[in-house]
Symmetry: C2
Subunit: 328 residues, 2 copies
């Protein structure tokens, strides 16, 4: 059962925005009018591949680490992640002078492991088939008395991600755009929860949707059912950042009351979205980061919205995977 003090509020997000000022990139909200004419709706793209570490994860990590006590900072932090959360925690820890251990699967994209080390973190790998990452991380945390930084089910992390929602509302207003719908790549649900909280306060008529890879639509199904459901099977997906099996407890408590629903996109649609982001926005988007864009381009957002903002949540993609998308 959730303690009410676990739940993030818009005040947390505003406080996070203050902490992140000058540390996180205020990423641009991109728009291409000639593309809008072709699509028949106005498409705004929040360009988080340009964020520090190449994804939105830096925001939540930096905010969470800023909330640690002096004693906790001294002991260091542990995180488990296949990629973007690892880099976010590693970079935030380095900036704040905190030691970080990152537990990653040994078969994670090579570039993500290399980058995490480059940020100064210690990387401990585990065998995804035979070991449980939470157990590995838990053991490290116990032995070092280190705080485990969870990737999404954490009030401080959600508050950091929510700064994207605040920026979206401000930037859209400055462009004279009324946001009918905002679509957000979703795995554990922290990013979409933060965005939903921020937009509820700043743009209450905006409908917020989770976007997931086809076959990993646990969030969409959970929202429809009103309670948390896990994925059934694991058909595989190029969206390596979005393969969490079920909604977070905290994130679902936030999202259940605030999201208009969940949408999906296939790998093929994701590749097409990556190629369109290349052609029209000159932006490198990783597969998981392109799933909201893919769903919008596929016409999956209900109610024929006139203006849709999608979060392009990250750009950490291996060259071969990107080439594959351009050549599809």
């Amino acid at each position: 059962v959730l303690d009410p003090s676990d739940l993030p509020t818009v005040a947390d997000i505003r406080a996070a925005a203050q902490r992140l000022a000058g540390q996180a990139v205020r990423t641009p909200l991109l728009n291409v009018p000639s593309l809008d004419r072709r699509l028949g709706f106005r498409l705004l793209v929040k360009a988080e591949p340009l964020q520090r570490t190449g994804s939105f994860k830096f925001r939540g990590a930096y905010n969470r680490l800023s909330l640690l006590s002096t004693e906790e900072r001294r002991a260091g932090v542990v995180a488990f992640s296949s990629g973007n959360h690892a880099q976010g925690v590693a970079a935030a820890a380095a900036l704040l002078g905190i030691e970080a251990v990152i537990v990653m699967p040994s078969d994670a994209p090579a570039i993500k492991i290399a980058r995490t080390r480059e940020f100064g973190a210690e990387v401990v790998t585990y065998d995804r088939q035979r070991e449980d990452r939470e157990a590995v991380a838990g053991e490290i945390a116990r032995s070092r008395r280190a705080v485990t930084v969870r990737p999404f089910d954490d009030r401080g992390v959600i508050a950091g991600q929510g700064t994207i929602g605040l920026e979206l509302a401000e930037q859209a207003a400055a462009m004279g755009a009324a946001l009918d719908a905002v679509v957000v790549p979703t795995s554990g649900g922290g990013l979409v929860a933060g965005c939903a909280l921020a937009l509820e306060a700043e743009s209450p008529s905006t409908r917020v949707y989770s976007a997931e890879p086809a076959g990993y639509d646990d969030y969409a199904r959970s929202l429809a059912a009103g309670h948390r459901l896990a994925n059934e099977g694991a058909p595989g997906s190029i969206c390596d950042a979005l393969l969490v099996q079920r909604p977070g407890e905290i994130t679902f408590a936030v999202n259940r009351e605030r999201l208009a629903g969940g949408v999906v996109a296939t790998d093929e649609e994701v590749r097409r979205a990556m190629a369109l982001a290349f052609d029209c926005f000159r932006l490198v988007v990783e597969p998981g980061g392109a799933v909201a864009l893919a769903a919008a381009l596929a016409g999956r957002i209900p109610g024929a919205p006139q203006t849709i903002a999608v979060v392009a949540s990250g750009g950490n993609v291996d060259r071969y995977r990107f080439v594959e998308a351009l050549e599809a």
Copy 2:
């Protein structure tokens, strides 16, 4: 002989910045600290691929067209270009309600013709073997009394491009960075002239360099000689946007007195720079747009500067050309 009234001033650039506010994207100045540690200097990248139309050319075109009289606006404008200038003029004209005719070779890639039309311009094609594009454009200009918008040798165009220099100075200062050197992709020299004028006013200790493809270093050689020289031969280059044969008259009058020199990069270095921009900045940069980055990465900037800003001037690149760079 140049009329002094043809020469742009920093006041022109400040006025252009006012006109462009809300129309042009204030593109981010990107920095990746972990890359800086690897390189041994601080590298800042001005991300003009995120500009409207995918290159800096929109700035100069919009400013130039804003300066037209009511009568001139009514008659429309003509430009000849098969690339970024065409799109910049077409998009600016559409925003300002001005008719634009773009003269393009009939064998230009269909996609470039289609994109220019998508911005609302009328495309007139000519036979590259049998017709002279300036004569074709001149005939259209005469018959319609339309103003020809030159790609670089024009006071209003240079002033528009110079807004990049103003933004660079402001953004670097906000990051606490003292700009030792700024390196700018150069063909006719309008972009670097505008940047040099702006930085002379805003950051007078900054050294400004032109960057060109190897074999097309007419600007570097002209700066060294003190007078305008043409390229000798045309060895070919992937930098399709940078193949003008000699410095502009107005641009050279500005640059001769202000640039610290000219640097070059080979096609191979340009491909590596495009791949690095993909990996580290998640940005799509076209070959010509990557030449300043390539020169900086190759260690060509004299005096071992601690902080180097490069302009990534555009991102309009065919997929096959980009894939080639990633696979090099």
